[in-house]
């Protein structure tokens, strides 16, 4: 939270200041429709205006503009279209293909192994607190050069429940305040990943997860009940006070008489008690319950790393009781068996091509899994797997191989751009090349998934950062 505040403050200030400096170019209003921006960090560097002209601009998967250009200003996309003119002083870049930066929805860049395997995490543990801006500097740079501009990280893989995953920009410098886009991108947990567990222990983990979800539901119920009770109480107090105000004289007379009578009878006077004196008790503060409540009510996605069929089946069956829960499955080696169910419930799956199959050897099972799930209509995301930071840079390459195996190129692009942005509630800022979105852009020498395509330049928040 403090980081978000810090981010918000300068951006608001700059937002005010930016207007007079905007100058001649026709800058459309940058405020995103309907939502509040927590701020785009690096404005102070991004004052340069950029016009990127491309033979093909992939606006979003399936939508391509030929011979178009993108105007980048203040770290955002100010305009997209054919025949855009470069404003005075703007720097012009030319490229073959322009598309949105890739998002790795499951990575561990900047997370040390100790935090990753922490067993003591709870729902409110924040991954941001474990982020080490100096860790994996090289891998981050390599990831950036391969086109991965932002990642989701999380900690506590071996804990009972993982904690809040963060959404982090892949900035080359280790500036956390600019890099962290969302501190609470999702609640993350893993089922059945500890070695040596038998099937019952693994299923017990599903039970525990459900217990946690129940706790969240109860927390919200209690909170709502408290809110209602409090309102009722306040209303009753107000009514009583009004009544007292109205009938003050009579009430005073009656009270005086009662005091008189008590005196005569030699008894002690007792004040009359009102029902309104019993103020409802506030439920105990429970940060974990709060997070879990948000999850149960679909305000935060729940990302569950789960591979085997047994846990998957139990998880899918038991989460059906939570209609608002936004479940995301990660890993999902055995997900083929449930592809219909997953497609029907629109549960996104993060497939990790680098895993190469959990049980089988090196047979690239995961690549075919991606193809099969996408064909079955399951929303498909591709991630680097959160175990090895070296694999982040391979993500675009592996997506290319998946395309070679039959994955629709648009589905592959969606799996790395629009879908993860949407699943992680950043659809209004990232994932596509549209006006008002953050300028995380890739300048490519060819089609994103062609074998020989080179990443010629990477813009993050409008800044050229690589190579």
């Amino acid at each position: 939270m403090p980081i978000a505040l810090l981010l918000a403050a300068p951006s608001l200030l700059l937002g005010v200041l930016a207007t007079p400096f905007a100058g001649p170019p026709p800058v459309p209003a940058l405020a995103a429709p309907g939502s509040v921006h927590p701020g785009v960090g690096p404005e102070e560097e991004a004052e340069q205006v950029l016009l990127v002209r491309a033979r093909r601009v992939i606006v979003r998967p399936g939508t391509v503009l030929e011979n178009a250009a993108v105007l980048v200003q203040d770290g955002r996309i100010a305009a997209v279209g054919v025949g855009l003119e470069a404003p005075d002083g703007a720097k012009v870049l030319d490229t073959e293909v322009l598309c949105a930066g890739f998002i790795d929805p499951w990575s561990r860049l900047g997370v040390d192994p100790g935090s990753l395997s922490d067993r003591t995490t709870t729902a409110s543990t924040s991954s941001v607190d474990a982020l080490d801006p100096f860790l994996h500097e090289l891998q981050r740079h390599q990831a950036l050069r391969s086109g991965v501009t932002s990642v989701r990280v999380h900690i506590g893989r071996l804990g009972r429940i993982g904690g809040l995953g963060a959404f982090v920009r892949n900035l080359p410098e280790s500036d956390l305040e600019q890099a962290v886009l969302v501190e609470d991108a999702a609640l993350t947990t893993a089922l059945g990943v500890q070695p040596g567990q038998d099937v019952f222990q693994r299923l017990e983990e599903v039970d525990r997860l459900i217990v946690e979800l129940e706790r969240g539901r109860r927390h919200r119920e209690e909170a709502l009940k408290y809110r209602d009770d409090l309102a009722a109480w306040q209303k009753a107090i107000a009514e009583s006070e009004a009544e007292l105000e109205r009938e003050f004289r009579r009430a005073k007379r009656e009270r005086d008489r009662e005091i008189e009578q008590a005196k005569e009878r030699g008894r002690e006077f007792r004040e009359k008690r009102y029902r309104e004196d019993n103020k409802p008790r506030q439920p105990r503060f429970d940060p974990d319950g709060e997070v879990l409540a948000r999850v149960v009510h679909g305000e935060l996605p729940l990302i569950v790393e789960v591979d085997r069929a047994q846990e998957l089946r139990a998880l899918l069956a038991r989460t059906e009781a939570y209609p608002r829960l936004r479940l995301v499955i990660a890993g999902a080696t055995d997900a083929r068996l449930f592809s219909e169910d997953l497609a029907r419930r629109r549960i996104p799956v993060i497939v990790v091509p680098a895993r190469r199959g959990q049980t089988a050897g090196f047979d690239h099972d995961e690549l075919s899994l991606a193809v099969d799930l996408a064909e079955a209509g399951v929303p498909l995301l591709l991630g680097s797997g959160g175990m090895d930071p070296d694999w982040v840079r391979e993500l675009p390459l592996l997506a290319g191989i998946a395309v070679g195996r039959g994955l629709d190129p648009d589905a592959a692009l969606a799996a790395l751009t629009t879908l993860p942005a949407r699943v992680l509630d950043l659809g209004h800022r990232l994932g596509s090349v549209e006006r008002g979105k953050d300028a995380d852009l890739l300048l490519l020498s060819g089609d994103p998934f062609a074998a020989g395509t080179r990443v010629e330049r990477v813009l993050v928040a409008g800044r050229p950062v690589a190579p």
């Binding site: 680098a354 391979e394 390459l397 290319g400 395309v403 070679g404 074998a451 020989g452 395509t453």
Partner: protein, 378 residues
């Protein structure tokens, strides 16, 4: 496909078993039984024919008869009675990989002695070994089979076809190892100095195969992985006049100054997914230099990913084609026979569904010695 392969495989197994007979088979052209039946000439027309040395013929044709390439070019005469095949994708020469252990498990290493100069891997060749089929479906038509690097002198490598069972060259190289694997402390030699001494002793003795090696008539494949091992190999070759290639050498690209004056090529692993960035950059540097290099076989998927990674890293397409075909054949010691589609070369070529370097492209069919083998149906 099986019915087509079986007689060839049986024949090959029959011939390959006694090593002495193998040269006769490898040396003379057109001895494969199918080829002798002399089917009518085949003409393959394709929008692009990649010859193997980086050249591409646009809208040309390839004329094959008797298991050999008769002509290739943009305007070649179609012989009378030739069967014409119109292929709508690219055609490349068959890939030639200059190193592999594609023999049945356990056959590539003999722990009884540390120097086996007269051992011939050709005798371990099994045409039906399933891994060969993986290589075939990746577009590989010829491959060097070599012993593993645990022995300082591993034996004689052979060049074989990935289908049809033909041994192209029964004794293509002598394989040496300057790798740490050959200097473990369970058998002598246990040190790098010991490895060098052992090889130099053999070369000075000029017994058997070493006579040809010392004269530079038989190339060597020297396994060397660490940078200092590579430098050692180059120095050894400089002192003793060895010719051939260094195998392994993930960081050879950082040693261009050392390698350039030597007569050695480099055979590298295709940098598959997960290869460190340093190794990849070294490979790209190697691919940008003029040092001849070729690839070795590890996995079908690695070959494809590795090529894509090199392209993405900035390697030239034509150079990679050369590494896969013409330079591969050169380092395998079979230049002129395979690796380049020219008159008189073996009719080994691949019909692709699309750009051969592209992830989505499929091998439609492979021709080895003019015989068609259907591609993988996946």
């Amino acid at each position: 496909m099986l019915s087509l392969l079986t007689p060839v495989a049986l024949f090959a197994a029959y011939v390959a078993a006694p090593a002495a007979l193998a040269p006769a088979l490898g040396g003379e052209p057109g001895l494969a039984p199918q080829a002798r039946q002399a089917p009518p000439a085949l003409v393959v027309r394709a929008p692009k024919i990649h010859l193997g040395d980086g050249r591409v013929v646009e809208g040309g044709a390839l004329v094959v008869s008797g298991g050999k390439v008769q002509a290739v070019g943009a305007d070649v005469a179609v012989p009378q009675g030739a069967r014409v095949l119109e292929h709508d994708g690219p055609v490349t020469a068959g890939f030639v990989l200059a190193h592999s252990h594609l023999v049945p498990r356990g056959e590539a290493f003999d722990a009884t002695r540390t120097a086996l100069p007269e051992a011939r891997l050709a005798t371990a060749f099994r045409a039906s070994w399933p891994d060969l089929e993986d290589a075939l479906h990746a577009g590989v038509t010829s491959v060097v089979i070599a012993p593993t690097p645990q022995n300082v002198v591993g034996g004689q490598a052979a060049v074989v076809k990935t289908a049809g069972g033909r041994v192209l060259e029964p004794a293509s190289h002598l394989t040496l190892s300057l790798s740490r694997l050959a200097a473990d402390d369970t058998r002598p030699p246990t040190s790098y100095a010991g490895l060098v001494r052992e090889i130099e002793r053999h070369l000075a003795g000029r017994q058997g195969v070493f006579a040809r090696v010392a004269e530079g008539k038989l190339p060597v494949l020297v396994t060397a992985n660490d940078r200092h091992e590579v430098v050692r190999a180059v120095e050894l070759a400089g002192r003793t006049g060895l010719v051939g290639a260094i195998v392994g050498a993930p960081l050879a690209g950082e040693l261009l100054d050392v390698l350039a004056p030597s007569k050695l090529g480099v055979v590298i692993d295709a940098p598959g997914a997960g290869t460190s960035q340093r190794v990849r950059e070294a490979h790209v540097a190697l691919a940008r230099s003029e040092i001849p290099f070729a690839l070795r076989w590890s996995e079908a998927e690695n070959l494809r990913t590795g090529l894509a990674a090199l392209l993405r890293g900035g390697a030239e397409r034509a150079r990679l084609e050369r590494a896969l075909m013409a330079d591969g054949a050169r380092l395998a010691g079979v230049a002129g026979k395979v690796g380049l589609l020219e008159r008189g070369a073996d009719a080994d070529f691949v019909l692709w569904s699309g750009d051969p370097f592209e992830f989505g492209s499929r091998v439609v069919a492979v021709y080895i010695d003019g015989q068609r083998i259907e591609g993988d149906k996946r």
